[in-house]
């Protein structure tokens, strides 16, 4: 078994226009920046993205937005992307904002074969509008549906050719959950090791969830707060 592909371009070569794509990361931390760059080169359009954020103007998913590739987006916070805000206020992009924990759990449920679940989050707010609610015990909950994707693009620290992955610090975030919730999971890693080199006790994403693995050619990994302060200079 060998899931390694030579380059990020090869990894995303067959991602179809109109696909639903999950992208890991929190802000610019733990994003699959090489896979995003490869996707941007292909300029496929009509994509439905699911990701906590939307990068910033000039980096990460912001590049996909600028290339006009995104038709709709589900996320929890997009405040650092002014271009997105403008598109949404003009009605040119379909944006669905949902609570971050509900987003994470909907993805987890998608990967775990749970079609829907109840949460207390968002009761009495716009988030609950049009959704079924149910009183269980003395509290009322909102029914939330699982999320699935055609493709998940995720970023890990180290991986092996079987697709086993470990993450580093807060760059883990949404990546492990998303790895479970797509038909095709493509992981980019900083370091590729031989099977057996990762301590099995430390593996966070077992290889069963991963279809392709690629070593990222280069990492810029800007710190978002500084990237914005500096006007995009790296």
């Amino acid at each position: 078994m060998n899931k390694v592909v030579p380059t990020a371009d090869d990894a995303v070569v067959d991602v179809a226009p109109g696909s639903t794509i999950m992208l890991g990361g929190f802000g610019l931390c733990g994003i699959p920046e090489n896979l995003i760059a490869a996707l941007v080169k292909r300029r496929i359009t009509g994509l439905h993205t699911i990701s906590n954020n939307m990068g910033v103007d000039g980096f990460g998913m912001g590049l996909m937005l600028e290339a006009g590739m995104i038709a709709s987006h589900i996320g929890s916070y997009v405040g650092e992307n002014r271009r997105l805000e403008a598109l949404v206020l003009k009605g040119e992009l379909d944006l669905t904002l949902i609570p971050q924990g509900t987003l994470a759990e909907r993805i987890r449920a998608g990967g775990a074969g749970i079609p829907a679940f109840y949460v207390p989050t968002g009761l009495g707010t716009v988030v609950a509008e049009g959704k079924e609610t149910r009183k269980i015990g003395d509290r009322t909950y909102v029914l939330e549906q699982a999320l699935h994707a055609d493709v998940a693009l995720i970023k890990a620290w180290k991986g092996d050719r079987l697709g086993n992955l470990i993450y580093r610090k807060t760059a883990r975030n949404f990546n492990p959950a998303m790895a479970t919730a797509a038909k095709m999971t493509i992981a980019e890693v900083e370091v590729l090791v031989e099977p057996g080199e990762l301590d099995p006790d430390h593996i966070v994403t077992p290889g069963i969830y991963v279809n392709r693995i690629v070593v990222g050619a280069a990492y810029r990994k800007p710190i978002e707060s500084k990237f914005i302060q500096s006007g995009g200079a790296l």
Binding site: F26, G27, L28, C29, G30, N52, G75, S76, Y77, V78, G79, E80, L84, E85, V88, L89, L95, L97, I98, P99, Q100, G101, T102, L103, A104, E105, I107, R108, V119, P120, T121, G122, L123, G124, T125, V126, V127, W157, Y167, R168, K169, T170, A171, R172, N173, F174, N175, P176, A177, V204, K221, P222, I223, E224, S225
Partner: protein, 221 residues
């Protein structure tokens, strides 16, 4: 001492040894700087970390190590990392002793609005709705009035809600207000102000606690 510093210092006095606390972005983050000596508090960052330390020097900043405000942070001994789904399981599951957030509006029912201004601001709620629905105690830390002098503590929120009847306490530079079934109860007023002056700056009706005291902000010794 600025108003914000007064708020941060006062809330820090609420911490007990062993508390797990999530601090919101902005003013609440300042509270970490005033934890009383001898009290160990584990700060959680909802992007997947327990045991968040202070900011690093520029040359030590690690791009894989940030807080929910996307600022570089450091690791405290005993810290841990986890995925977003687990981070919010611990939030939603009632494991956080305290969640401290900023607000645009709070009202007499303990409703909170802090995430959007329709037609003007498209940012998103991030983890705020999960935090207020799941933490054992939700404290709003905010300046009492807007820059234009309007009250942020209203009879009824006019902005879209972050949570319905979720706030336990409101702390401003002027006072401490407890949200109760009877309404908002003023329990502490800062030195140099009286109840009438606080009410004059507040749209919501304030009940006065029989145990009303002066809001002390000095560090505990």
């Amino acid at each position: 001492m600025t108003g914000k510093e007064r708020i941060a210092r006062r809330i820090a006095r609420e911490f007990h040894d062993g508390f797990y606390v999530n601090l919101g972005i902005g003013l609440p983050t300042m509270i970490a700087g005033y934890v009383p000596a001898g009290i160990d508090v584990m700060f959680q960052s909802e992007n997947g970390m327990l045991g968040v330390g202070g900011p690093p020097t520029d040359e030590c900043a690690d791009t894989d190590l940030i807080n929910a405000g996307k600022q570089p942070v450091t690791e405290l001994p005993g810290c841990s990392f986890f995925g977003s789904e687990e981070s919010f399981a611990m939030i939603r599951g009632g494991h956080m002793d305290m969640s401290i957030l900023g607000a645009m509006q709070v009202d007499e029912q303990g409703n909170l609005a802090n995430w959007t201004i329709p037609g003007k601001m498209v940012k998103g709620m991030g983890g705020a709705m999960d935090l207020v629905a799941g933490a054992r105690r939700v404290i709003v830390a905010m300046e009492h009035q807007t820059k234009d002098g309007a009250s942020r503590i209203l009879k009824e929120c006019t902005l879209p809600l972050t949570g319905q009847s979720v706030v336990h306490d409101i702390v401003t530079e002027f006072c401490w207000i407890r949200v109760t079934a009877q309404g908002l109860v003023l329990t502490e007023v800062v030195e140099g102000m009286n109840v009438v002056e606080v009410q004059a700056r507040t749209e919501a009706r304030l009940l006065v606690s029989p145990d009303l005291s002066v809001m002390t902000v000095d560090a505990l010794v």
